[in-house]
């Protein structure tokens, strides 16, 4: 039985037939009203509860992820602080080893200098010469009055001359001694200057250590805050991670552009070495070889910076003993230099090939081949670029490490936001479904409003009749009661 047959089942007139079907449908809907309402409301409620359950599970997952993210952020921050503090301690150790290890020698030097200064100082003490004891007796004799005796006068003159001579000699001796003392004091001056300089050096070292210890204290405070796992610290670390992510991402993009330039520089000459016709998949072997060289350079750079303990991507390298690490530094640096040299020669070959291609093109179009002036400038430029780029690419390890570390935090944040949004939409959808169910029951009633109205009218009349009957019975009872009462 197809639709047409069903349509014309009641009458040949489609309008009449549709009206009959409509009437049947309304009747069926009216009869099934209570069950249909229950079905719709229950379906809405079930969906709402299912989605709420899903939302709760997602929120639980979100909380777990949030906790994990916090832990990851704190761990990263903690590791970074540990490295920073470790480095500062190493610096302090270097200062102590370099400057303060010579402290006993320095102390001896200062003691010697002070001893010398003291000796010189004692040596320079002013001791005026004492006049001879007989001078007083002679002076007394010299004061005797001259009574015109020429002999006495001559004796006294002799005594005076002797006294003057003695005084002059004593004065000269005093002068000589003073000069010697002055010389000793002059000798103290450079010693004193040396002492001041040495003490200044000690002061500088002490101040440096003091500053470093203040910095360490600050870092230790922050480290303690990280260990205490408070929210403010987590937020600060999170913001720092995002900044690192964007900055390192930007530097990585620059490095990738550098890699592309590098690739362009060596891809053509590589075809001279491995052939320009072979392919692996959709890529030319020459291109793959050029990419392999660039990747090797990046790998060497990674190992070099890892050996220098600038980055910490491979714990196995970082934990090697110093002797092995030093060997590795030399090996990776040598390999990197070899690769850079190979690249420089490839860049030169590229320039030669380009020149050859240009000459061929000129001859094919019938032009005479003209040797360009200053052709050596781009040749040298390409060679230098070919040599420098590998070393530049080697430093990509630093932003790469930052990017990898911050990527964990960023991915965590994105996952967290996604879960939060999903939970919210689950709840929203559940509530919407429930409310839609309610709305549908009303729409259902609107569709069957005619039988509902009839039912309502009938119920009203019945109610009125029942009320009238009740009133009548009540009146009778009241009358009976009034009759019984005196």
């Amino acid at each position: 039985m197809n639709t047409n047959n069903l349509l014309y089942m009641w009458s040949s007139s489609p309008a009449l037939s549709i009206a009959v079907w409509f009437f049947i449908a309304i009747l069926a809907m009216y009869l099934a009203r209570t069950t249909a309402h229950k079905l719709i409301l229950n379906a809405g409620r079930s969906i709402k509860y299912a989605l709420r359950l899903a939302s709760i599970s997602i929120i639980k997952l979100e909380n777990r992820l949030d906790e994990r993210n916090k832990q990851v952020t704190l761990n990263i921050g903690q590791e970074a602080k540990e490295r920073l503090i470790d480095r500062e301690f190493h610096r302090v150790n270097d200062i102590v080893t370099k400057d303060l290890s010579g402290y006993p020698a320095l102390h001896r030097k200062i003691s010697d200098t002070l001893g010398k200064i003291e000796a010189d100082y004692h040596g320079s003490t002013d001791a005026p010469p004492t006049p001879p004891n007989w001078i007083q007796a002679v002076e007394t004799i010299a004061r005797f009055p001259q009574q015109g005796d020429p002999v006495t006068a001559k004796i006294l003159e002799g005594i005076q001359e002797t006294i003057v001579k003695t005084q002059q000699e004593t004065f000269k001796l005093y002068q000589k001694n003073s000069t010697e003392r002055q010389q000793l004091l002059k000798n103290i001056l450079p010693e004193n200057r040396n002492l001041t300089q040495t003490l200044n050096e000690v002061k500088s070292s002490i101040v440096d250590i003091s500053e470093r210890s203040e910095f360490i204290d600050k870092q230790m405070d922050q480290y303690e805050k990280i260990r205490s796992c408070n929210d403010k610290t987590v937020r600060t670390l999170h913001a720092s991670s995002l900044t690192q992510f964007f900055v390192s991402g930007l530097v990585l993009i620059i490095a990738i552009l550098g890699g592309i330039v590098n690739f362009q520089l060596i891809a053509l000459p590589m075809s001279e070495m491995v052939g320009g016709t072979s392919q692996i998949g959709s890529m030319q072997v020459a291109d793959i070889a050029a990419l392999v060289i660039i990747m090797l350079e990046v790998a060497m750079g990674l190992f070099l910076l890892e050996s220098l303990r600038i980055t910490n991507l491979f714990p196995a390298i970082g934990s090697m003993d110093d002797k092995m690490r030093t060997r590795m530094i030399y090996i990776t640096l040598t390999l990197l230099t070899i690769l850079a040299t190979v690249e420089a020669s490839l860049a030169y070959m590229r320039d030669m090939l380009a020149a050859d291609n240009q000459a061929l093109s000129q001859s094919l179009v019938g032009l005479s081949v003209v040797e360009a002036e200053f052709r050596w400038i781009p040749s040298i430029g390409q060679m230098v670029l070919g040599f420098i780029l590998p070393f530049t690419l080697a430093f990509v390890a630093i932003p790469l490490e930052s990017f990898v570390h911050s990527l964990r935090t960023v991915i965590g944040s994105i996952a967290l936001s996604t879960l939060r949004c999903t939970a919210f939409f689950c709840r929203l959808l559940g509530n919407l479904t429930y409310q839609t169910g309610k709305m549908m029951t009303h729409i259902y009633d609107i569709v069957i409003f005619l039988p509902l109205q009839i039912e309502s009218l009938l119920l009203t009349n019945k109610s009125k009749a029942s009320t009238h009957k009740t009133d009548k019975k009540s009146n009778q009872i009241i009358e009976k009661i009034e009759g019984v009462l005196p």
Binding site: G275, G276, S278, M295, D356
Partner: protein, 218 residues
């Protein structure tokens, strides 16, 4: 340290094995150009020289190029003036191109006109050569007025196998008789088109030699 050495060795082995397992590139091209040397058409050969130079500039390492003359009996290797498959190394390839150009220049200077024109034989020869190269894109360039004039007894009225071969007619000049009755020219082009398509090839006509870029794709 061992870890580093192992990594380096692994990378080197992978690189070398990648190079060792290399296969010929599937995107190579092969071009066979037929030069009509009959009658007065030899005067047009300077134009052909420019087309050959264009082809030399356009073709890359691994591609093949052959130039043959159309004479009284063109289904012969003797009519191939020069042929080359360019070396994978760019420098060697450039040397081959220079040598090829010298050969063609010398041929153009010394060419003598032939009394008959066996275009079908030339196309058959070209088809054989192109199939041998194994190239992905195959082209036969026919530099001729397409007026075939066979030696009595030569049989050429059969379908030439030209599956996936692009046949390009270049510089199809109008003959004096075409001017009198242009239907002859149109009919000549139509006949060749039918013959090529029946053989499984793709037919194109390029008369404007300033638009050579449409000759070869890529």
């Amino acid at each position: 340290m061992k870890y580093l050495i192992r990594t380096l060795i692994a990378i080197a082995v992978v690189s070398l094995s990648a190079c060792a397992n290399e296969q010929p590139a599937p995107k190579t091209k092969a071009v066979f150009m037929l030069l009509d040397t009959s009658g007065t058409y030899t005067q047009e050969l300077e134009k052909a020289q420019k087309i050959i130079n264009y082809l030399l500039a356009k073709l890359e390492s691994g591609d093949s190029l052959a130039i043959a003359r159309i004479d009284s009996g063109s289904f012969s290797e003797k009519d191939i003036v020069a042929k080359v498959t360019f070396d994978p190394r760019p420098s060697k390839s450039n040397e081959q191109k220079r040598a090829f150009k010298r050969n063609i220049d010398s041929f153009i200077k010394t060419v003598k006109s032939s009394p008959y024109t066996d275009i079908s034989g030339g196309i058959l020869q070209a088809s054989e050569y192109l199939n041998e190269t194994g190239a992905k894109e195959k082209y036969i360039l026919v530099f001729s007025d397409l007026k075939e004039d066979l030696v009595k007894g030569h049989i050429r009225n059969f379908s030439i196998p030209l599956a996936n071969v692009n046949v390009v007619a270049l510089n199809v000049t109008k003959l004096r008789s075409d001017n009198v009755d242009p239907r002859k020219y149109i009919g000549r082009l139509s006949d060749w088109s039918t013959k090529v398509v029946e053989g499984g090839g793709i037919w194109t006509v390029v008369n404007d030699l300033d638009r050579l870029e449409s000759l070869i794709k890529g």
